[in-house]
Symmetry: C2
Amino acid sequence: MSDMVSSLEARRVRKQPDERRAEILAAAADIALAEGLECITLRAVAERIGVRPGLITHYYPSAEDLVIAAFVRAAESERDGANPVEGAPLARVAAFVRDMEAPSSDPISKLWLNARHLSRFIPALAEAVHEQEKLNVASLLAMIEGGVADGTFRCEDPLAACVRILVAIDGHGAYVNDIGGFIHEAYGCFVSDTAEWALGLAPGALAAARD
Amino acid sequence: MSDMVSSLEARRVRKQPDERRAEILAAAADIALAEGLECITLRAVAERIGVRPGLITHYYPSAEDLVIAAFVRAAESERDGANPVEGAPLARVAAFVRDMEAPSSDPISKLWLNARHLSRFIPALAEAVHEQEKLNVASLLAMIEGGVADGTFRCEDPLAACVRILVAIDGHGAYVNDIGGFIHEAYGCFVSDTAEWALGLAPGALAAARD
DNA sequence: CGCGCTATTGGCCAGACGATCAATAGGCTA
DNA sequence: TAGCCTATTGATCGTCTGGCCAATAGCGCG
């Protein structure tokens, strides 16, 4: 037990560039979700994976690029992770809306709020946000069009309904950092209510679809 | 012309503490609206009013307190500035909604987005945001209740309608830093549409109320 | 008119940030 | 097993931040 994984680990580990790059990006994405994009510093990322700050600069010469890449990765993994492609349109939208309103979505809500604000100062991040937005639109729009085709949803303009639901999600997410609960229960189910309104469903139809 | 207002102004001006405090707060609020809360630094505020950074610390020993005070002041001045107490409820809500959707509200939208995100790291700011929220609710709720009383609006729960409209405003404002226009016109009039839905108005009723 | 109170200054500190570069050492290959 | 390529380090720089404190000078009062 002379050289176990001691607390003062100083052993230098050499990895393949691709692997190291992926490791750095994963660490940065973790920080983005858990602590915020502003906390993605050379030193914070380096410490998390047990290397020296200079190495982060070596793989990401511009720290700003790492921040943007971390946001993209976090947003992508979130979209891929919780979007079941199976099931009826009503059930899929109901599940999507439920997830968005659930506390489990707080980290991703915080990330989007974070990225939307930071886009003010980082134009390249604004572009990445816009790109991820379009992907979210495509994902939700597909669900809606499926429901319109089989008569479940009743709306003239599926894209308009999609936009309304996504904006509602951002409105809901804007309060993710608030203290205490909100003033009224209408906040907690704002996304559901808006979705029902936008999709021409009866009030409570989405809540009922969650068996 | 030996000593005009030269570019290298070094003359020391002595003011009353109250006056100086107000001057500092006003400068900080200006920065908050124009550049963002993160740009309220001792040096930035000092330079704007032609004093040395140390003086800002003298009046605001905690720079964080100045940031919070600047947000409160900017939010208050905005609420006081554009809320006509006269007119019919329909006209007042229509004007309020129109203002929120207009590009002229971009600075205040950016400020709220900014404050909501920064609340994640500054608990005291989160409290201030919550306080300003309650004031906004009270202001809008009064308008709505007036319209419900005279039969203009048809909604069972005025507070629920108020909450829905305010959340819609935040959803709309979340895109204030986006590049290019949005994908669909449903975004541009999301607040109007949501307000009509929440208040039991016919689609287009608010737009029509803007003579 | 001159004195004293205090608003204001100048200087300085420690800490965190991104970035750069020569020196080092890990691990594959011959 | 010896050696080379390069991934990784350590050290250092310049800049920004908030915060502190003694010294200075503006302005009102006597």
